[in-house]
């Protein structure tokens, strides 16, 4: 049984309270692409660290006290909506659940590359994801058009349902695309997010599509054959999705389909 006094967060808070708080220096990439006079540049903001401070708290404090114009995106601030992907000290991640206590005193923040910049740290991942969904048709293509909703649902193997959910946990934050070598070179590359979705629907017996159908969608260099297996996607995925195995598995299936 756990002893509340041994709670690590409380312990960390106590340690933080013992010494003077750190002065954090945020080096933030600023740019407004709609302003013809704007030139991308770095601005430095200094704030005092607080116990349990996340980048969500820190950026809001900067906006409230230091610069009302700083643009960034948060929605759920709980790591589930995927709005706040940004590059933190060179690594794409979710800002809302990044604790400053895990970072050095100097923190560099930049918008996710590969997406259209809105301003400062805000990028248009929504537009990119909608385009990807339309291209890859990321919905169940049902066998049955209008099921009788009064009837008992079709059974599904419980293990299979869990495996589908495992891949369905993607939050479309865009970190995998930002960390992808191919995405930098090929504008239309569907990214790990897209490939994972195909793997998810290929696994789902409710989807009537076959490997031949999926081959039409991702059997090319903008799809699974564009992947150079650098696997930055797998390293940065905030949901720890099994991207490495899914991409490898999909490549084998698509290669077989293409050869078939």
């Amino acid at each position: 049984m756990s002893d509340p006094a041994a709670n690590p967060a409380a312990a960390a808070a106590a340690t933080a309270a013992a010494g003077p708080p750190r002065k954090l220096r945020f080096h933030v990439l600023r740019h407004d692409p709609r302003d013809p006079h704007s030139v991308p540049h770095t601005e430095v903001f200094e704030i005092e660290e607080a116990a349990g401070m996340t980048l969500f708290i820190a950026l809001n404090e900067i906006r409230e006290n230091l610069d009302a114009s700083l643009a960034f995106d948060f929605v759920c601030r709980a790591g589930i909506c995927g709005s706040c992907g940004m590059v933190v000290n060179g690594r794409p991640g979710l800002a809302c659940r990044t604790l400053t206590q895990d970072l050095p005193q100097d923190i560099t923040l930049a918008p996710l590359p590969a997406f259209e910049l809105i301003a400062d740290l805000s990028v248009n991942t929504g537009k990119w994801m909608r385009g990807m969904s339309e291209r890859l048709e990321t919905w169940v293509h049902s066998l049955e058009n209008d099921p009788d909703l009064r009837r008992i649902e079709a059974p599904m193997d419980p293990e299979l349902a869990d495996r589908i959910y495992e891949l369905d946990r993607c939050i479309e934050c865009g970190c995998c695309v930002a960390a992808c070598g191919t995405a930098r070179m090929r504008e239309d590359f569907v990214g790990a997010v897209g490939l994972n979705k195909i793997a998810r629907f290929a696994l789902d017996p409710r989807d009537a599509r076959t490997d031949a159908d999926f081959y039409e969608l991702v059997g090319n260099d903008d799809g699974v054959f564009g992947c150079m297996t650098l696997l930055g996607c797998h390293d940065v995925c905030p949901k720890n999705l099994p991207l490495q195995t899914q991409i490898a598995f999909l490549r084998r299936r698509m290669a077989r389909e293409g050869a078939g």
Partner: protein, 660 residues
């Protein structure tokens, strides 16, 4: 002036809004969604533990049906709900789950045979039926007699939103992301659409539609401590309120969730307690059985939250540098269960607290969670006072939650209301009522009025800081309009909020850009939020009784004799500093379940004069119909099926209730 025309304009891209748009599309109408954020980032995503629907697949759900779900929901509402609407809801919820299953939601499924579960702190072995194997599974939740909450691990809202948003894409529904409605276009009797601001460019556009639906979710960010996403600011309710015609219902009914992570307010699901998790105090004592011997940790949320605060007041809270809190203990559920069925909770604890919930207790304290009130609508979803304006989901008060919502009934309501209201909107458009002659002068004036308001903020000489006003409002709401309310506190709150509203008319900005300008957004939203906050505070001050989540320490009794009625708030003139309150009585003589004790919480109420008569009537009716099937009895007592769209009528099949 830029104008976009569509049949159905949906404001809000969460589950309710998406489902309305899909429904309208399937009936052959154009639908367009406005959303502050990409649809899949909406707050519907945050629903963790599950969605109530009386499928009765698991053995602990055996015997569940619409009747049981109905009674649980009405008791949960403390008799504030519209019982016909509750009936519409409970009959459609199983259909909604099954529709979502067909759309690809990976519902957690039943495994046949023995399994070990935790009930009341004890390990118990239960045996699932062979015929249930592979069907959708249910877990226990607060305030329910049966295990009824269908779920996808603890990422239910996420999985639902993913599937429904993708169905919207499949149906070709455009979502205009990063756009915000600033005002409804109306002539005092008919709504014609909205004036909309592009949050990237700042451009204003008139969206003109035959029907306009508000599906903007709740107003949690009126409070300092809330589980809600930062976009849940009650703006949809404010849009309706600012028409001066549409009313907001029961805004004082605000739910506080027992287990917000302390102090950030991030939600950990009720599924933790449903699956056997316990609440403990500073000394590790499990205190809920002392207060609620019957339901313990699984009484309704209003009751559990009050008991927790009561226990802290008695000096039993754990102390921390941020204040006092209690502990949620899920260590007894075992590592495997937590990592598979409560994995979001596991991740949240790791990321935000740096703790492992399979070994450590979770620091929790009640936090604002849900807005039972909203835009008052008829059972069709349409405003009774502004034709062509509809609302659904948390933004609406149609009114199935009354004064307290049950866990798992909210994410269920989003899709159920979306299904039902989507059909009624299509009916409306196809009827002569749905036709419009577009009054272009009115449209232009509406756009010009919003332009002028924005210009006044951007270029004006105001000196008030928007974010400071907003923070003060949030603090007042949390301190004075919270779980325990008193006349003195509420009077102070109303007075101070009025002061803030007046000051908000002189906001000045430091950033004068009309493009992506977060300060401008805070400015115009704060002006709107203050009006909604005043509806909550004045409603709470005026309601001198305690019902559901609205608890008055100076009036602790539920008073059916005087207060079995719904509060309606309107804002008559833009220069007013208070809403007008009116009341709509609930008719006891037509209720299926007349008011009584909820079965948990304090047994402390004054009867309505009609209650005894109705109870007697029902007793006689039931005696007369003894032996008749339950559907027939129900239809005699309180007919409702005629209120449902034809395609969603009909009984629901279960293992023990086969359809022919």
């Amino acid at each position: 002036m830029k104008v976009i025309y569509t049949d159905v304009l949906v404001i809000g891209g969460g589950l309710a809004g998406l489902r309305i748009a899909i429904g309208a599309r399937r009936r052959g109408h154009d639908a367009l969604i406005l959303s502050l954020v990409p649809a899949k980032r909406s707050h519907s995503k945050a629903a963790q533990g599950g969605m109530q629907a009386s499928l009765g697949n698991v053995i602990k759900g055996q015997g569940d049906n619409e009747d049981v779900h109905f009674e649980d929901t009405v008791r949960g509402s403390d008799w504030g709900a519209d019982q016909q609407v509750v009936r519409m809801f409970v009959n459609t919820a199983p259909k909604a789950v099954r529709e979502l299953a067909a759309w690809g939601v990976p519902w957690s499924r039943v495994r046949k045979g023995d399994r070990t579960v935790i009930i009341n702190g004890q390990k118990v072995t239960i045996t699932e039926r062979d015929e249930a194997h592979g069907l959708i599974s249910q877990r226990d939740f607060g305030g329910t007699k049966k295990w009824r909450t269908c779920h996808v691990s603890d990422g239910t809202g996420h999985a639902m939103l993913q599937a429904v948003a993708d169905q919207a894409i499949a149906s070709g529904v455009p979502v205009h992301e990063r756009t915000e409605a600033l005002a409804l276009i109306h002539d005092g009797s008919r709504c014609y659409g909205a004036v909309v601001r592009d949050l990237i460019t700042g451009e204003l556009t008139a969206y003109v539609a035959k029907a306009t639906a508000i599906a903007t979710g709740g107003a949690g960010r009126l409070y300092r401590v809330t589980t809600n996403a930062v976009i849940c600011e009650g703006i949809g309710a404010a849009l309706a309120l600012e028409t001066g015609v549409a009313a907001l219902g029961n805004m004082e009914a605000v739910q506080f969730h027992p287990t917000g992570i302390f102090p950030a307010g991030i939600l950990v699901t009720e599924g933790c307690r449903g699956d056997g998790g316990l609440l403990r105090d500073a000394s590790g004592h499990r205190f809920m059985p002392d207060y609620e011997p019957e339901k313990k940790e699984l009484a309704s949320r209003d009751v559990v939250s009050r008991r927790m605060e009561e226990h802290i007041r008695k000096g039993n809270g754990a102390k921390s540098r941020f204040g006092e809190h209690l502990w949620l203990d899920i260590t007894l559920l075992g590592e495997k269960h937590v990592k598979t069925q409560l994995r979001e909770v596991y991740e949240i604890c790791q990321s935000f607290l740096g703790t492992d919930p399979t070994r450590d207790f979770i620091a929790v304290r009640p936090a604002q969670h849900y807005t039972m009130g909203g835009v008052r609508t008829k059972p069709t979803g349409e405003s009774p006072t502004l034709r062509g304006l509809f609302a659904a989901g948390e933004a609406a008060c149609w009114d199935m939650h009354g004064f307290n919502r049950l866990g798992g009934n909210s994410v269920a309501e989003t899709v159920v209301a979306g299904m039902i209201v989507g059909e009624f909107i299509a009916d409306f458009i196809e009827s002569p009522k749905g036709e419009i002659d577009i009054p272009m002068a009115l449209v232009r004036e509406a756009v010009e009025a919003e332009r002028a308001r924005l210009d006044a903020l951007l270029g004006g000489a105001g000196t008030e800081r928007a974010d400071a006003l907003k923070i003060e409002m949030q603090q007042i709401m949390t301190d004075k309009v919270g779980i325990f309310r008193t006349g003195a506190d509420l009077e102070e709150a109303v007075h101070r909020l009025q002061g803030l509203l007046v000051r908000s008319r002189s906001i000045g900005l430091r950033n004068h850009v009309d493009g992506p300008n977060p300060e401008l957004v805070t400015a115009y939203r704060t002006q709107k939020m203050l009006k909604v906050a005043l509806c909550i505070a004045t409603g709470a001050l005026t309601r001198t009784e305690s019902r559901g989540a609205h608890f008055r320490e100076d009036f602790p009794q539920r008073d059916d004799a005087h207060w079995l009625k719904r509060t309606l708030a309107t804002w008559k003139d833009p220069s007013d500093t208070l809403p007008c309150l009116a009341y709509e009585p609930l008719d006891v003589l037509s209720m299926e379940l007349p008011p009584g004790w909820r079965g948990y919480g304090a047994k402390n109420y004054v009867d309505h004069p009609d209650t005894a008569r109705r109870a007697e009537e029902l007793e006689q009716l039931r005696e007369r119909l003894q032996g008749a099937d339950r559907h027939k009895v129900q239809a005699e007592i309180m007919p409702y099926e005629h209120l449902l769209p034809a395609r969603f009528r009909g009984r629901n099949e279960r293992i023990d209730e086969k359809l022919p």
